[in-house]
Amino acid sequence: MATRQHSILTIDGVAALLDALRRRGYRVIGPTVRDQAIVYDDITSLADLPRGWTDEQGAGRYRLARRDDDAVFGFAVGPHSWKKFLHSPAQRLWRTERSADGVRIIAEPVSAKPLAFVGVRSCELHAIAIQDRVLLEGAYPDQHYRARREAAFLVAVNCTEPGGTCFCASMNTGPKALGGYDLALTEIAAEGERRFAVDVGSAAGSGLLAELPHRAATPGETAAAEAAIAGATGRMGRAMPDADEVPALLRRNLDHPRWEEVADRCLTCGNCTMVCPTCFCTTVEDVASLDGSASEHVQHWDSCFTMDFSYLHGGSVRASPRSRYRQWMTHKLSTWWDQFGTSGCVGCGRCISWCPVGIDITEEVAAIRGSDSAARGREG
């Protein structure tokens, strides 16, 4: 495979990139330190980026920490994902007004301000592609998601510092961004300064790069960028065992005793679904004024872990924590293939880090696999 010609940005080039996006009218969102974590929020300058910060992650544990260098992107993914901006936690869909002429239904206009995301990881590009499939394909595409998605400018960052709960390498979703971005950066340290090898992924990306102070990468810089990504592949904190076989493994183990064991630990709080970058479920709520003259129809993020989620007349279909955890995990890893033609998991590790009791999806798969005779047989 031919090595693509990289360009090089310096740290000032990254600052110029943020300025250029702002000048073009984008709302620029990127990683920033807030509330003891690296979150995604509005950024206005280089100073907002988490330069010199990193994260230490484990099951049910996340700690913000100082790095011993001034890397800009030297951390893994945090509690937020880009779905917060593309697939909003609360979205008014329409409202009604009652007047003498009757009831008028007013559709919510789509948002006008285009978004630019800086620091999108490979696992997150895969997650966005999955949500594209779920929310844009089919008979009823989500208009609000579509407007934001089509206008969005994506600056990817190749992972060079995977976290303790990362397992994208085993899911074939990273650490290197292979497409779906406008520009992709790989951070390297050279001659005592931070440099960023740039890949162009679109015409828009090419146009923007042309405005920035940049130069061609030396062969040494290109090699350093590739080595940094390759190094990340080998430093994943976790791995999904035998990922290709997981859909079938779970299909034949729906009554495995492990579901009961994980249910003893599971709080059914729904945190895993909220932090998951592919979980897309929503509910709608009608909010009426006291005098009945107006109402709003609002969509909110929902979770398959709530009792209301599967409530039909008379009760919840999935009343037990066992059935709810199993529903979530088998959908994510197995039936998602049947429904959407891919896995619903991108190996970002958020569900492991942000589970208050540290339930680990890779460990649960390994436990089921460990007592599955077919899986063991293959290992011979």
């Binding site: 544990r61 059914t268 945190n271 009792m307």
Partner: protein
């Protein structure tokens, strides 16, 4: 609309053992209060109005728990006069902070507080209204959320079920974009086992959830308590975390008892 203005539904607000904070939430509605008063006749609300009209009432909001023999009688009379009875707040729905007496000897408590406890006529326990009379809807919280109170009133006026979700505080906390205080700072937080309603106020201010809205349905308090212990919370402090405003509510009571001395 015309029918509603011909005869406005009559509202009564009742107080039992409580701090009055929940019924004040109705007065706290400020902007919406005049609209409420237009749509509903506030017939009995001693905290707010001198004029007290006799029953029957279309909607009774009941605050407070049952702690005396007289109140155990009075709630029966309230129920008989009320077409719909909605309990508001942790006292009315779970017995409140005063349900700590349920785990102790009330005579010892009384002797410690009052110079002449023999003049007190009190029950050994503080119990929710639903332990005494049928309740049409329970609105939780210490205090209740005024937005949810308005929703209950709106639902009553439209003769529909109130849209009051029953999920954990975590769902609202994550929708707000908060960073989990338990995962990122090791702060014990009752959010995962607590019924939503407040909008995740405490974690938004970097504190763990105090469980003001009581346990969520099917709360796995045992697994959470185990995690608190792993964070280094002492056994006695775990019991205390569960023994606050909803001390007598099912899962919280059981977990505190499991961590008792």
């Amino acid at each position: 609309m015309a029918a509603a203005s011909a005869r406005r539904p009559r509202l009564a607000v009742w107080k039992f053992a409580s701090c009055d904070g929940c019924q004040l939430s109705l007065l706290d509605c400020e902007d919406e209060l005049l609209m409420v008063a237009e749509r509903i006749e506030i017939a009995y609300f001693p905290e707010a109005a001198r004029r007290m009209l006799p029953g029957p009432y279309d909607l009774s909001l009941v605050e407070g728990s049952i702690t005396t023999p007289a109140d155990a009688e009075r709630i029966q009379r309230v129920r008989r006069q009320s077409r719909r009875l909605v309990t508001i707040g942790a006292c009315a729905t779970a017995g409140g902070i005063q349900a700590l007496r349920n785990f102790a000897d009330i005579r010892e408590y009384a002797a410690a507080v009052y110079p002449y406890p023999e003049y007190l006529e009190t029950l050994a326990t503080s119990t929710p209204i639903s332990a005494h009379v049928p309740v049409d809807f329970e609105l939780r919280g210490c205090p209740i959320d005024k937005g949810q109170l308005l929703e209950v009133i709106k639902a009553f006026l439209a003769d529909r079920k109130p849209a009051v979700p029953g999920h954990s505080v975590c769902i609202d906390c994550k929708r707000r974009g908060n960073v989990c205080v338990m995962v990122a700072s090791g702060t014990p937080c009752l959010g995962p086992v607590t019924h939503t309603g407040c909008g995740a106020i405490c974690p938004s201010y970097d504190r763990g959830c105090y469980g003001c809205f009581g346990p969520v349905a099917g709360a796995n308090t045992a697994a959470l308590a185990k995690e608190f212990a792993a964070l280094g919370v002492a056994r006695r402090d775990i019991a205390r975390l569960f023994q606050t405003f909803n001390a007598a509510a099912g899962a919280f009571r059981d977990e505190a008892e499991r961590h008792g001395d």
